[in-house]
Symmetry: C2
Subunit: 249 residues, 2 copies
Amino acid sequence: MDSRQHILNKSEELKEDFLPHLSADPVIFGFDRNELKVLLLKMNYRQQWLLPGGYVGKDEDLDEAVIRILKERAGITNIYLEEFGVFGKKNRSEFYFEDFDHTLFHKQRFVTIGYYALCNPSRFKLIADAYSETCEWICLSRLPEIELAMDHREIIEKALLTLREKISHKPIGYNLLPEKFTLPELQKLYEVILGKELNRGNFYRKIMNLGILKKLDEQRKGGAHKAPDLYSFNKRKYTKALEGGLNTW
Amino acid sequence: MDSRQHILNKSEELKEDFLPHLSADPVIFGFDRNELKVLLLKMNYRQQWLLPGGYVGKDEDLDEAVIRILKERAGITNIYLEEFGVFGKKNRSEFYFEDFDHTLFHKQRFVTIGYYALCNPSRFKLIADAYSETCEWICLSRLPEIELAMDHREIIEKALLTLREKISHKPIGYNLLPEKFTLPELQKLYEVILGKELNRGNFYRKIMNLGILKKLDEQRKGGAHKAPDLYSFNKRKYTKALEGGLNTW
């Protein structure tokens, strides 16, 4: 069955079970080998890249919907998603399906709810759905070269801004770094998310001031240089900072 | 015309012009005479208090919709609104209109988009719409005693949490305080939003560290105590902190 026919067949089913006009788009960032990546699908139809988004069931809470969508479209489960923005321009999605007629479910106006998460990609085995040729972690540095459908580039940019703002007042790194890590490794994580180099002295001073790190009595052995100290997170203080924010009154 | 009949008459019009299943609810906080208030309507039907929410036009961007809704329902214009959360539980709103049948536009399932703003109430002359008996600024301290419709209490609480989180990393006070103010006045604003008393010494040290205040060569005269120094915001640094956040890497 060709990709056009697959979409047509799905349309009637979707009308039965899903709310019109409302969709959800998860932006899943992965930190892997010192690079920040985003999870994208390449749809058979049109061969453009898209976020693994979908629709909201008539009998389903919105929060349940986005979890189901991510599982169905990419095989991803057990991930904490946070809403970060709503994309409601009136013409944001209709043009994508312009070679179908107006009765197609997919072609109506959709207001989409953006959710984001930051994870370690090694946790997941990706499985693309029947709409898609492939499902992959794409480096942010490659985004300018690829074709993204609808307003999905704007949605990814807003998610990235939210992530950047978040690390200014919430700790980050737990579940992304190995249990024991060096300060240069933690600095690299911040640099990759912020998209800029940080001054080493300033970074060390600020990160130590947060009180979320525990210096271990061990060094990372085997490098050419002086063995750097290893650290781990002080789980209690890290959790407290997650709940309360780093810079509260 | 009674309130029930008014809702019935509106229903058919609404079906023509508005998207199903999608609404917007503005949570407008006002800081006035050392109290934090929220803008609520009391609907004729059922006599419960509600946020001044409404629906999204078929041919209207979501951002345009929320501005129009606030103007139509409360007479408020020229206010900067920020999206803070989406409320999408499947049964969140249907019960409110339980004594109507299922063909009523208002009675369908709505996923609502929450927007918030913080303003000086003296800027506005409130005008209630035809659905509502009154439109008022209600003190947060009075909320526990009043009857709020649907999940509007939860929506207000989430907006307040967002506001509290925001003042931990963005400056606040411009447009809410007079041009020249004392440090105790600024501290009161923070205390009212945070809902707790702050230690005076800590507050002064932290707020001065932000570098957003300019000490004036004037004192507030007329009190029984030593005349306190007056301050104003350094507009350039305030704006920079608004854009970048107070505690960036």
